[in-house]
């Protein structure tokens, strides 16, 4: 079959029309689903009160900005996620190094940790930490939440670190050994700096999943975004408005982090290709 320039152009124009039509059809579908939701809410005699939502986000009193409960909850979510991420990195790196060490005990401990965390639900781990470990050790609920999240994500961080260390070519180990570096110097000076490049994008992804999992701590009443949302709903009965706002806040947070991941991945890939 031979395409002339004319048929090609006509095809491309047709494809463009079809794309425009599809985009239109999609917006109609979204509108339809939204309409269905509104109609359903009307059938329940749901009273939409969107105008009441902004005051739960922020208030401006006398020219001063005050964060409302939802933004405060967002702050707690961020704080919780940041602290757990740091602790998870410590757990993950320790587990990854132990797993690669020559020590059978270290290997066994790291393996048991990773398998237990990966084969039980996060919610059950949270209950275990909060109902069993926290009263024994005298932790408050925020510390228990941080510990549970960090233990959970740490097991996944361990796998990321392990893959990152294994991605460093063998020749680097051999060269470092040939130079007579000690084992810890090999890790510190040669392997880990190279592994960081590989590990950075998946670790940002871990941060995204940590923010999502942090919503779970609302079951132990840590005052994060989800808890604030649930409390406000119990007070005001604005179920849909508040849940949609909470979801939008999470969505904004995680999609901006996801975009950051994409950007980092591209940067690291370019840097790796240029230098390698």
């Amino acid at each position: 079959m031979l395409f002339t320039a004319d048929t090609k152009r006509r095809r491309r124009a047709g494809a463009r029309w079809r794309a425009a039509f599809d985009a239109l059809a999609f917006s109609l579908l979204v509108l339809g689903l939204g309409g269905l939701l509104v109609a359903g809410a009307d059938a329940l005699h749901y009273n939409w009160q969107w105008y009441r939502v902004p005051q739960y986000l922020y208030r401006i009193e006398g020219g001063e900005f005050h964060a409302g409960p939802l933004l405060q909850g967002l702050g707690v979510t961020l704080e919780l996620s940041a602290l757990s991420l740091l602790l998870a990195l410590v757990f993950g790196l320790t587990a990854a190094l132990l797993r690669r060490s020559s020590s059978w005990a270290g290997h066994a401990v790291a393996r048991i940790y990773v398998e237990i965390v990966r084969n039980t639900p996060m919610l059950v781990q949270l209950y275990l930490v909060y109902f069993v470990l926290a009263p024994i050790l005298g932790l408050d609920r925020f510390a228990a939440a941080v510990l549970a999240l960090a233990l959970f994500e740490g097991a996944y961080a361990a796998e990321i670190f392990r893959a990152g260390i294994e991605a460093v070519p063998r020749g680097q180990w051999e060269a470092a050994n040939a130079l007579g570096l000690s084992r810890s110097a090999v890790y510190r000076r040669v392997i880990l700096p190279q592994a960081v490049r590989v590990v950075l994008p998946p670790l940002t992804g871990l941060g995204v999943s940590l923010i999502k999992h942090s919503a779970l701590v609302s079951v132990i009443a840590v005052a994060d975004l989800t808890t604030e949302g649930r409390n406000l709903i119990a007070d005001t009965f604005m179920t849909f408005e508040l849940w949609f706002t909470v979801a939008a806040l999470y969505l904004a947070l995680t999609t901006s982090l996801s975009l950051l991941v994409g950007w980092l991945e591209r940067r690291v890939a370019v840097g790796g290709a240029g230098r390698g």
Binding site: R18, A19, D22, A23, A25, F26, L29, V30, L37, G40, A43, L44, L98, S101, S102, S103, W104, A105, G106, H107, V109, I116, R118, N119, T120, P121, M122, L123, V124, Y127, L128, F131, V132, L133, P135, I136, L137, G138, R170, W173, V186, V208, I211, K212, A215, L216, S218, V219, T226, G229, F240, W243, F244, V246, A247, Y250, L251, T254, T255, S258
Partner: protein
């Protein structure tokens, strides 16, 4: 690096063992002497089976009922999630912009929202509108006793069915997004040349998909799908928060009513672990067997 892992006792072993046993010992010590917890494991077996004096036989108690419910959720949920995810995955690689937009927004929306928030939103929507529209309860009341017996075995006690269905739908819609990504990756992993070769043979795109691409994609898709099945079992604990009576829910109930908090939660965690770890091992063995057979196909 390539030092062989011999079973001799090095200084690192000593440190690791000391730290691990030190931590465990400290927790046990605090539990005994500061928290004054009295361990009592004798009640736990009774939460699995109990003797019903009225019926004069052994019946399943809360924990095993919860376990059964978790298994039911996992089986039906993964079937439904496979269906939703398969369709949405096909949408994501479709040539139509409409279908691609549909698949993309479904996947991105769900993957960027905390599972908990999704479940709560969807549950309010579902319990308010969808389930009354399906009218499950009235049709259930009309069912013959034999049918309802089968239904009870498949879906759990009839009075809990609407509840079970909303949990199931939440879970399936949620996991479907992850299945869709697996399916998309599997289809895109099939080399472009396969599409071109099939087109050169004069196959229609739909025929190409059904007869050429999907059979090849299946091989790459099966291992991550098995992993997703295990994820689904773990995520099913979340629907306890919308009072579906699976294992985490019965665990909460038992911990509160019996006061044996430590024992109950440790048992529940151990049950999940056995279920997921056992399945992971099983899948790994099946996969290696398939690979061995696949490497010498003729």
């Amino acid at each position: 690096m390539a030092r062989s892992r011999k079973r001799h006792f090095g200084w690192l072993d000593a440190i690791v063992l000391a730290v691990a046993f030190g931590l465990i010992g400290y927790v046990v010590y605090r539990a005994q002497h500061h928290f004054h917890y009295r361990w009592d494991w004798r009640l736990i077996p009774g939460y699995f089976v109990r003797y019903d004096a009225e019926q004069g036989r052994w019946v399943l108690n809360l924990l095993s009922q919860g376990l059964l419910m978790t298994v039911r959720l996992a089986v039906w949920g993964s079937l439904l999630a496979g269906l939703i995810g398969g369709l949405m995955g096909l949408c994501r690689v479709s040539r139509s912009v409409f279908l691609r937009l549909l698949g993309r927004s479904y996947v991105e929306l769900i993957r960027n929202m905390p599972p908990l928030v999704f479940i709560f939103i969807f549950y309010f929507f579902l319990s308010g509108q969808l389930l009354p529209a399906l009218a499950v309860e009235s049709s259930l009341a009309d069912a013959a006793p034999a049918t309802s017996g089968v239904l009870a075995w498949l879906f759990g006690p009839p009075e809990l069915l609407p509840n079970f269905l909303s949990g199931l739908l939440c879970l399936a819609l949620f996991e479907g997004a992850y299945v869709a990504e697996i399916v998309r990756a599997g289809i895109q992993a099939v080399p472009q040349g396969q599409w071109e070769g099939a087109a050169a043979l004069g196959l229609h795109p739909q025929q190409t998909l059904a007869n050429v691409i999907l059979p090849q994609a299946l091989r790459t898709v099966v291992p991550p799908l098995a992993g997703q099945f295990i994820s689904l079992i773990k995520d099913s604990s979340l629907v306890s928060l919308i009072s579906v009576q699976e294992m985490t829910f019965t665990g909460t109930e038992l911990a509160v009513s019996s006061g044996r908090v430590f024992e109950v939660w440790l048992t529940v965690a151990a049950l999940y672990f056995l279920l997921c770890f056992g399945l992971a091992g099983l899948f790994r063995r099946l996969e290696s067997r398939l690979n061995r057979r696949g490497s010498h196909p003729h």
